[in-house]
């Protein structure tokens, strides 16, 4: 047995079963019993922690990426097609209310009376007749009447002759229209005609009353096999002894049979009828468009629908099977039925008639492979199929209220459980009876000792409900029962987690003790995702996708092109990615993280991921530079009051939350790039890889305007102060990202003036190349020192009233001054601190002023666009008045 088989049969449930087996048959060895469950008990690789999996390089998400691309992308990255998973957005949830106390209704609700049993079956409702007998018989009479002489003289004709004095050659007898002496009735009972059987029966019974034993009934049990029952025997083909008579056929002449061969059989059968001089009329529960001309030769054809019996005389061209029109109508019917739990002929007929579809549709729907069950009692084959149909409901533009009214009309035939399920799916409010029923179940389940069978029944029902549920929010009244189910599930992987329930917000009066939380990291290892405690040792070959706070009830939702899969998220339990996900959502008590996939954007020349995270390579005028993805998240901006050498402008410390990530240049803008774009280089300390300096805020804005004009779609901008500090800290809270101690081998500043009495060091008296020194945890170089970096914001000497969403703060403050961050090669170590900020006039140039640029976030279509972002066209430059037109305000 392989390791794979073991992951398919997740240990928990199977092991519990094994335990029960061992108790029941103590004499048997554990291995013998395990074999019955196809479990492998060998100690081999049982857990991932014992034996690290083979070192799998990053992102093999694509089914078959070329071998080389599996290696960590080398710099500069050139891989273009592999999608990378990355943390795109974060949402913070409002804190959970206290749900420890029992709800008001709890104590007053009595226990469920009697035994909890599986749902009662739906009762069968007969469909309305297509046509009443009174509407049918005149047509049949007209069809079958024959004129016959009756033994009474036609007095009127006699008189007429007498008056006109014409000689009488023959005595005129009265004639009268009458039913023929005998009729052969053929009723087709093939399985696919089940929706119409009541109509056939109605005609058969009425004719029987009329003809008594002059009606000869033949039952066709299977039209493809041409099995006919007549006079107590089964015949293959037309029974012998019938000739020179009239025949009425009720059925479809095989036209609706999915198997498709029946009609050919009936054409043959029609020839036989003709040979035997039997005149055949066929009442077909088939729309005229689905009829085939070949049948008209030997049958007199009628289409039988609620509007009447219509002779079929015109045929659409031979389509060899059911017409596209009827098939399309059947598909639409299924879309309309996608909210129905139980599909019966009565419902199908009513819906079809109200939508004005042809009569064929009933059979086509009832034998559709998307449905399963008995011929007249159908349910959806599986949730996925139904979901596929349901997604098309909006496109049909039906009146939801109408649909609900119709389904409600059939609700009385459903047991309470199915009624609740149906209302849940449609998002319709439950009735008081239904709510009381759920409350009583909840109370019994929580506080009463149910026997095993009852408990299984209840669990089974909730599980079915959950499995069949689509995206709809769960009814409030159903949530306690689901919570009980979830509690019962424990850590089982089979726990069904519907989209419409937030597993982290289940009522605590059921889930028990307060929710536990713990910092965690989400890792990707090859095609596997795994959440681990933040404190867990770093594993080789794994990539960190996000940091978050795990909580009880945490869930993940894996969305792929095929659909979505939601399940509880446990620490240290790997999640296999079998297909390329389009998005992964992680839902915890406090946050919702949204991971998306990204391939190389059109404005970049490469994309990759390394130990610092996701990055893109961009080229402007032949000069490459790198932008790093700064993931969404939150941090405390400013310095705590006890930080040494702090200034008052760094407070008050406040929380800033970035709901969306953004791109930030890996280094300060280099002289090579500036030269390429601007055609000149103002820097004092020349060096292609050194940062550009001696530029003002206005110069930086001009550069950005120009590079954006040269490269439509690039849309670079200056970072906000909050963005700068968030990126600089990269998750740290110390004065510098590397800790509290500043030395000159970590950053470029005047080593003669150390920070907080630290060690003295070298004074370089110039800039160094931008990629000098170690980058921080997010891969950003020299956030501390070398050159000051311009930010977008206007100067404020305190954070009082600062925005908390990380947007640049420009509406107030000293407009002619902008903010500089990060310190420089000249002077003290103190201004290098992450929190330090300094003002400077926008038109000031200095040999220690530089900048780095940011980009994004991408504008999400679901979010309201900011003013000015009227189209998806690249912005032509950015003006000072509206520096970030594509950002959300």
């Amino acid at each position: 047995m392989t390791h794979r088989a073991e992951t398919e049969n997740p240990a928990a449930g199977q092991l519990r079963l094994l335990q029960r087996l061992k108790q029941a048959i103590p004499e048997a060895d554990l291995e013998e019993l395990a074999a019955l469950l196809r479990l492998d008990l060998r100690p081999a690789p049982s857990s991932l922690r014992d034996t690290p999996p083979p070192l799998e390089p990053p992102p093999p998400l694509r089914p078959e990426p070329p071998r080389g691309s599996l290696k960590p992308p080398a710099y500069p990255p050139k891989e273009k097609t592999v999608p990378f998973l990355y943390l795109a957005r974060t949402e913070w949830k409002t804190p959970q209310e206290n749900t420890q106390t029992l709800p008001d209704w709890y104590e007053t609700t009595p226990f469920f009376e009697g035994r909890i049993d599986s749902p009662q079956p739906a009762s069968l409702r007969a469909p309305e007749s297509l046509l009443s007998w009174s509407a049918l018989w005149p047509v049949l009479h007209a069809l079958f009447r024959t004129e016959r002489r009756i033994p009474r003289l036609d007095v009127a004709t006699l008189i007429d002759h007498a008056v006109k004095r014409r000689p009488l050659k023959r005595l005129p007898w009265q004639r009268k229209r009458r039913w023929p002496q005998e009729i052969v009735l053929v009723v087709d009972l093939s399985r696919h005609l089940a929706p119409y059987v009541r109509d056939y029966e109605q005609v058969a019974l009425a004719l029987k009353q009329w003809f008594h034993d002059r009606l000869k009934i033949i039952l066709c049990h299977d039209s493809e096999l041409q099995l006919f029952e007549y006079d107590g025997a089964i015949w293959e083909g037309l029974p012998p002894g019938l000739a020179n008579t009239r025949l009425l056929y009720l059925g479809d002449l095989g036209l609706l049979d999915r198997r498709g061969l029946s009609t050919a059989q009936y054409i043959e059968w029609g020839r036989e009828l003709r040979r035997r001089n039997i005149q055949a009329h066929a009442l077909l529960t088939v729309s005229p468009v689905d009829c085939q001309a070949a049948l008209a030769r030997d049958f007199d054809l009628f289409s039988w629908d609620h509007t009447g019996l219509h002779p079929i005389t015109r045929f659409t061209e031979d389509h060899g099977g059911v017409s596209a029109q009827s098939r399309a109508q059947a598909e639409e019917m299924l879309v309309l039925l996608s909210h129905a739990i139980e599909i019966q002929p009565a419902l199908v007929r009513q819906l079809r008639i109200e939508r004005g579809y042809g009569v064929s549709v009933e059979s086509l729907v009832m034998q559709h492979p998307a449905l399963k069950g008995h011929a007249v009692h159908l349910q959806w084959r599986d949730t996925k199929t139904r979901e596929n149909y349901r997604q098309r409901l909006d496109a049909l533009e039906v009146d939801k209220a109408w649909l609900w009214r119709l389904l409600k009309g059939h609700e009385a035939h459903l047991p309470l459980e199915l009624q609740i399920e149906q209302r849940q799916q449609l998002g319709e409010a439950l009735t008081d009876d239904q709510i009381t029923y759920l409350r009583r179940l909840t109370r019994s389940f929580r506080d009463k000792t149910l026997d095993r069978a009852e408990e299984d029944m209840l669990i089974g029902w909730i599980e079915r409900l959950a499995r069949r549920a689509g995206e709809e929010r769960w009814q409030q009244a159903l949530i306690p029962l689901y919570a009980l189910y979830r509690r019962q599930c424990g850590k089982s992987e089979h726990c069904v987690t519907p989209q419409g329930v937030d597993g982290t917000r289940l009522p605590q009066w059921i889930m028990g003790a307060a929710q536990s939380k713990q910092p965690a990291r989400l890792l990707q290892k090859g095609a596997q995702l795994i959440a681990v405690a933040a404190s867990a040792p770093r594993e080789k070959g794994s990539q960190e996708l996000a940091r978050f706070t795990w909580s009880d009830g945490a869930e993940y939702n894996l969305r792929t092109a095929e659909g979505s899969h939601k399940a509880p998220l446990w620490l240290d339990q790997p999640i296999e990615l079998s297909a390329v996900p389009t998005a992964i959502e992680i839902n915890t008590a406090d946050q919702r993280l949204i991971l998306e996939t990204i391939t190389r954007p059109p404005w970049a020349t490469g994309i990759g991921r390394d130990r610092y995270g996701l990055f893109v390579e961009v080229e402007a005028k032949g000069v490459p530079f790198v932008l790093r993805w700064i993931p969404p998240g939150e941090f405390m901006m400013g310095s705590p009051p006890d930080e040494p050498e702090r200034s008052n402008s760094e407070g008050p410390q406040h929380r800033v939350r970035f709901a969306q990530g953004f791109w930030l240049a890996e280094t300060a803008c280099t002289q090579a790039l500036w030269q390429a774009v601007m055609g000149e280089n103002p820097s004092k300390f020349k060096g292609e890889e050194n940062p550009v300096e001696n530029i003002s805020w206005n110069d930086a804005k001009r550069f950005i305007e120009k590079i954006n004009r040269l490269h439509p779609g690039l849309e670079l901008r200056l970072p906000s102060e909050a963005e700068w500090e968030y990126a600089c800290r990269a998750g740290t809270t110390t004065p510098f990202w590397f800790g509290s101690e500043l030395t000159t081998d970590k950053a470029n500043y005047d080593g003669n003036h150390p920070y907080a009495n630290g060690p003295k060091g070298e004074y370089r008296k110039k800039t160094v190349p931008a990629r000098h020194f170690q980058p921080n945890a997010w891969g950003l170089y020299q956030m501390h020192g070398n050159v000051w970096e311009w930010c977008e914001d206007a100067w404020h000497d305190s954070y009082q009233g600062a925005p908390e969403d990380g947007q640049p703060w420009k509406t107030s403050g000293v407009q002619e001054q902008a903010v500089l961050r990060g310190g420089s090669w000249i002077r003290l170590g103190r201004p290098l601190r992450s929190a330090f900020r300094a003002p400077a006039r926008r038109d000031f140039r200095n040999v220690y002023f530089g900048f780095r640029f940011a980009r994004g976030p991408e504008l999400k279509p679901a979010q309201p666009a900011g003013a000015g972002a009227a189209s998806g066209q690249p912005e032509r430059g950015t003006s000072e008045a509206d520096p970030k037109p594509r950002r959300r305000r």
């Binding site: 108790q23 029941a24 004499e27 599986s118 079956p121 069968l124 008594h212 399963k372 008995h374």
Partner: protein, 316 residues
């Protein structure tokens, strides 16, 4: 419930199967430890036992023998490609009903007359099933000493013959021990979980079963391993035909021949291999021929009949 334990099986591993209407031939079943454990386990955790193995390796026999040892009535559904899930629950004679409806003398009778309880119905609730014998009765076979008090053994034979949808739709009914009968608007459930039916399902693996279905079952694989092949078969042959041959070695000779044949066919890439059924046929044929021709050497007869026995495995 009767107190059958593993010991019961191991002390008397050889069971002589009584002829019954469905299987009129005499047969002998030889329980081994794994089979006995599987049956007891299935009863204990109330999960169906899925027996897999090549045709003719004695899967069906296990169920018959178990019903006899455990004195359980035996309800059977032999599956074919036209079998629907409902066949296990009920059969409804719509044809009869319509023809009655059209017969002024007979008229439509009570619905009960057209509804026949299926094997699962009998297995879950034999009391109500007796009211619905209908025209296609699936009443279980009660062997000697068998009683409904011991629960019913439900044999679903050759499930792999059915349409793929059948196993999956069975899951719910077998899992809940209940199903609904639309015609009478009732739900048939297991009246007494202590007497829940023991469900044995066999498959020749002609088509692979849905994984969800297999997961819900306990699985017993009957494999004829080459090492034990000759021993196992000759023991079974000896048990069925105890004093048939002058030469005691015949049991082994025939088994060895069969093993050779199997190996040859397997090497040729065939998947359908001769097994226990062919072995017993071969022995029986030799026995029968011996009666007509008592002077022939048994060994010669064996060779002669081998050709007949294995012809069906030869490719034209």
């Amino acid at each position: 419930m009767n107190d059958i334990s593993l010991q019961t099986f191991l002390e008397n591993p050889v069971v002589e199967l009584d002829p019954c209407p469905a299987w009129p031939k005499r047969a002998v079943h030889h329980f081994d430890r794994q089979q006995a454990i599987a049956i007891l386990a299935s009863r204990a955790v109330k999960r169906p036992l899925l027996i897999r193995g090549e045709p003719g390796c004695g899967k069906t026999q296990i169920a018959r023998a178990a019903s006899q040892v455990m004195r359980m009535p035996l309800a059977t559904l032999v599956v074919n490609e036209r079998t629907e899930t409902e066949d296990l629950f009920w059969r409804y004679d719509a044809l009869r009903r319509l023809s009655d409806a059209n017969d002024p003398k007979a008229g439509v009778k009570d619905e009960k007359a057209y509804l026949s309880a299926g094997p699962l119905w009998w297995a879950l609730d034999h009391v109500s099933a007796t009211e619905y014998r209908g025209t296609h009765s699936s009443e279980p076979y009660l062997g000697e000493g068998a009683s409904y008090d011991n629960g019913v053994l439900l044999l679903i034979d050759e499930i792999d013959k059915a349409d793929r949808s059948v196993p999956n739709s069975l899951l719910e009914a077998l899992g809940n021990y209940s199903f609904e009968v639309p015609y009478i608007g009732e739900r048939i459930t297991c009246q007494d979980l202590d007497r829940a039916p023991l469900i044995i399902i066999t498959t020749n693996e002609e088509q692979e079963l849905p994984p969800a279905f297999v997961r819900r079952c306990l699985v017993l694989d009957i494999e004829l391993k080459d090492e034990d092949f000759v021993d196992t078969l000759s023991a079974r042959g000896r048990a069925l035909f105890p004093k048939g041959f002058d030469d005691e070695g015949i049991y082994r000779t025939v088994a060895e021949q069969l093993l050779e044949k199997r190996k040859a066919l397997r090497n040729a890439g065939e998947t359908r291999l001769p097994g226990q059924a062919e072995y017993l046929d071969h022995l029986e044929a030799v026995l029968a021929m011996k009666q007509y021709d008592p002077d022939r050497k048994e060994k010669d007869l064996v060779d002669e009949l081998a050709r007949l026995t294995y012809r069906k495995f030869e490719r034209p």
